[in-house]
């Protein structure tokens, strides 16, 4: 479970002060995927960094069942060491996240296979194209089988096929259908088309606030995109 209450965070002082988070509260259970849509500067990344524990919010609280170990976070940066191979990176992070030594190798192979990277496993990260590096970053975030996934623009740099693959993978990870427990997924993007399929809940963020927050229900992607366009353009 992931639960936040009354989050508020600002950057800077006085006239130059920016409100990045303003009164954000929600609770997500396993099997729920929240898609947060917002324009540049809306505070999406700040929110995900707060959820990941990288930024301590000025007000409000965050609760994650399982703590740091339970979180998989894909941010704007890959956290990969360029001069290590993809596999060496994965084994390093697996070890830090407490994956037992005997499980690390098989787990790395499994995640790489799932992301279509098996034949790139032993290449240094610096030699990867942007899209492949993004896939490696996703593999890194999944290596310890996190139960809470925080994804900040995860489709950046992926081609159409890879993006569709990732959507399918995220849907599978979210699970929750047919009685399975599933995972909590939070996905932030400025592109409605990219994230809406997977979402069970939808939020529009603007100037740090959730100006809209509701279950997706039976709404069509086109309808949500239209509502989003109106929400971020009016007044």
């Amino acid at each position: 479970m992931l639960s936040v209450e009354g989050l508020r965070h600002t950057f800077g002082e006085g006239g130059g002060q920016v409100v990045a988070l303003d009164g954000v509260s929600f609770t997500l259970m396993p099997g729920q995927a929240l898609a947060i849509f917002g324009p540049n500067g809306a505070g999406k990344t700040t929110l995900l960094k707060v959820l990941a524990g990288l930024i301590r919010p000025q007000a409000g609280s965050v609760q994650v069942t399982g703590g740091r170990r339970a979180i998989g976070w894909i941010g704007h940066q890959s956290h990969l060491y360029e001069h290590l191979t993809v596999r060496e990176n994965l084994l390093f992070w697996a070890s830090l996240y407490g994956v037992p030594a005997a499980r690390r190798g098989p787990r790395a192979a499994e995640v790489l296979g799932r992301l279509g990277m098996r034949d790139r496993a032993d290449r240094p990260v610096w030699s990867l194209s942007r899209g492949l590096a993004q896939r490696a970053a996703i593999a890194k975030a999944l290596i310890h089988d996190p139960s809470v996934l925080l994804l900040d623009e995860p489709f950046t740099g992926l081609d159409l096929a890879a993006a569709a693959e990732l959507r399918a993978l995220l849907g599978e990870l979210r699970g929750g259908g047919g009685g399975a427990a599933g995972r909590v997924v939070v996905l932030a993007t400025h592109n409605v088309d990219e994230g809406v399929e997977l979402a069970t809940d939808v939020a529009f963020q603007r100037h740090g606030r959730f100006v809209h927050f509701a279950p997706r229900g039976g709404r069509e992607p086109a309808g949500i995109a239209e509502a989003y366009r109106r929400a971020v353009t009016d007044g």
Binding site: A52, G53, L54, I55, G67, R68, R69, I71, W73, G75, Q77, S78, H79, L80, Y81, E82, H83, L84, E88, F92, W93, S95, L96, Y97, G98, P124, K140
Partner: protein
């Protein structure tokens, strides 16, 4: 406790593997050390000041600056793709991160010193044969102190501009006590004095190490978390 050491070792092994892959930092530091010793070798007048009086200072000035180069690199490599951010959100204990960096830095500096010491003996023709074991003991003790404090400070300055310069400026004052001890002991050893005369300075070095390794292990968490 086992978990703390295991995590520290994971970090250290990763740093050493990275160093082994690129080799740029270690090679340039070794070359730097060789160059400094060469410059000192030719830039002095052996008829004016006896070599034996200058040699200890030269050895320690060289090792101090070589250690600075190593320390600058320790957290620099975590800025690549913001890996540091990844470390901070992971369950990695902050003390383990410090120890991991400390171990990797010690190995790095030890390699440089292992190349530097024979060059020093060769250039300055100092009699180390009989005092080799205590000399290595001084080097080990002083290096541990340098690197323990330096690792803490290198984390402190990493997000600032001119981190390299700032590190040298804030670190050097803290290195004065072990530097004095190391130079004194080295001078006594090379001068053929009995080992018993150096005991006081050995104690100083050991006390410095104990105090600063403990203090830095405790304070480190306040440097990396914003």
């Amino acid at each position: 406790m086992d978990e703390l050491f295991a995590q520290a070792w994971t970090v250290a092994r990763k740093d050493l593997l990275l160093e082994f892959r690129t080799r740029t930092a270690i090679v340039s530091t070794v070359v730097f050390t060789a160059l400094v010793l060469t410059v000192f070798n030719f830039g002095r007048d052996p008829t004016a000041v006896p070599t034996i009086d200058l040699a200890p200072t030269i050895l320690w000035v060289t090792f101090t600056f070589a250690a600075m180069l190593a320390l600058n690199r320790a957290f620099q490599l975590e800025l690549e793709n913001q890996a540091l951010e990844g470390l901070l959100v992971s369950p990695l204990n902050r003390t383990s991160l410090y120890w991991g960096k400390l171990i990797a830095n010690l190995v790095f500096v030890a390699v440089v010193e292992a190349v530097g010491l024979p060059l020093f003996v060769l250039f300055f023709d100092v009699p180390v044969g009989r005092v080799l074991v205590p000399l290595i003991g001084v080097i080990a003790l002083a290096t541990l102190g340098f690197v323990a404090v330096g690792t803490l400070f290198s984390a402190l300055v990493i997000r600032t501009r001119f981190a390299e310069l700032l590190l040298v400026v804030i670190l050097l004052p803290f290195l004065v006590p072990p530097l004095i001890g190391a130079v004194q002991i080295t001078a006594q050893l090379l001068g053929g004095r009995p080992l018993s005369e150096a005991v006081g300075y050995f104690k100083l070095l050991a006390a410095y190490d104990i105090v600063f390794v403990s203090l830095a292990s405790f304070l480190f968490r306040f440097t990396v978390d914003e």
